[in-house]
Amino acid sequence: AQSVAQPEDQVNVAEGNPLTVKCTYSVSGNPYLFWYVQYPNRGLQFLLKYITGDNLVKGSYGFEAEFNKSQTSFHLKKPSALVSDSALYFCAVRDLTLSGGYNKLIFGAGTRLAVHP
């Protein structure tokens, strides 16, 4: 069965420091991986995706993610954190189970990022 795990409930980082939010996945076949961010009282916003190609994927707001096939990981990173990056981050993977003829997404439990001034 397809699944995605976010092992950290919360990540704390000081402003200006690099940040990493971890994600590991389990899929059969080639993974399609996604990161979304949810700010308080708002819906999810798409950050970036990995489909194929370069293992380092660049996305919105200066975020990037590194696909590592041997470690089945897709960690989200940013070189220098901002207080405004504080939010809930979700990793997601394509589920090969078809729903209405199309693939679904499976979301991780989410990781709350807190960036302190």
Partner: protein
């Protein structure tokens, strides 16, 4: 990317009543989905809204409780029927135009509180 709006943004309802949530996309999309996000939890897919046919429900969700309509390629509704406090959640609509990549864009959500 698609811009998605939802109405209402929030509501407080009495037990036993029903609420219909509307989802509007600013462009035609292939797929529309409805999710539930319970307090402090991740997203759970309720169903895929199929244009012109019955929605496809995930395990644990049934049409009688969560009837869904999708009359065209830009609009869908989700009704939460005969509500109980356990239905208190954020309900999110999403849309996708890609069959292969499954990149989804989300609405702002509807925060429902059932008393």
């Amino acid at each position: 990317s698609a811009v998605i709006s939802q109405k209402p943004s929030r509501d407080i309802c009495q037990r036993g009543t029903s609420l219909t949530i509307q989802c509007q996309v600013d462009s035609q999309v292939t797929m529309m989905f409805w999710y539930r996000q319970q307090p402090g939890q991740s997203l759970t897919l309720i169903a895929t809204a199929n244009q012109g046919s019955e929605a496809t429900y995930e395990s644990g969700f049934v049409i009688d409780k969560f009837p869904i309509s999708r009359p065209n390629l830009t609009f869908s509704t989700l009704t939460v029927s005969n509500m109980s406090p356990e239905d208190s959640s954020i309900y999110l609509c999403s849309a996708s135009s890609g069959m292969d990549t499954n990149e989804q864009f989300f609405g702002p959500g509807t925060r429902l509180t059932v008393l």
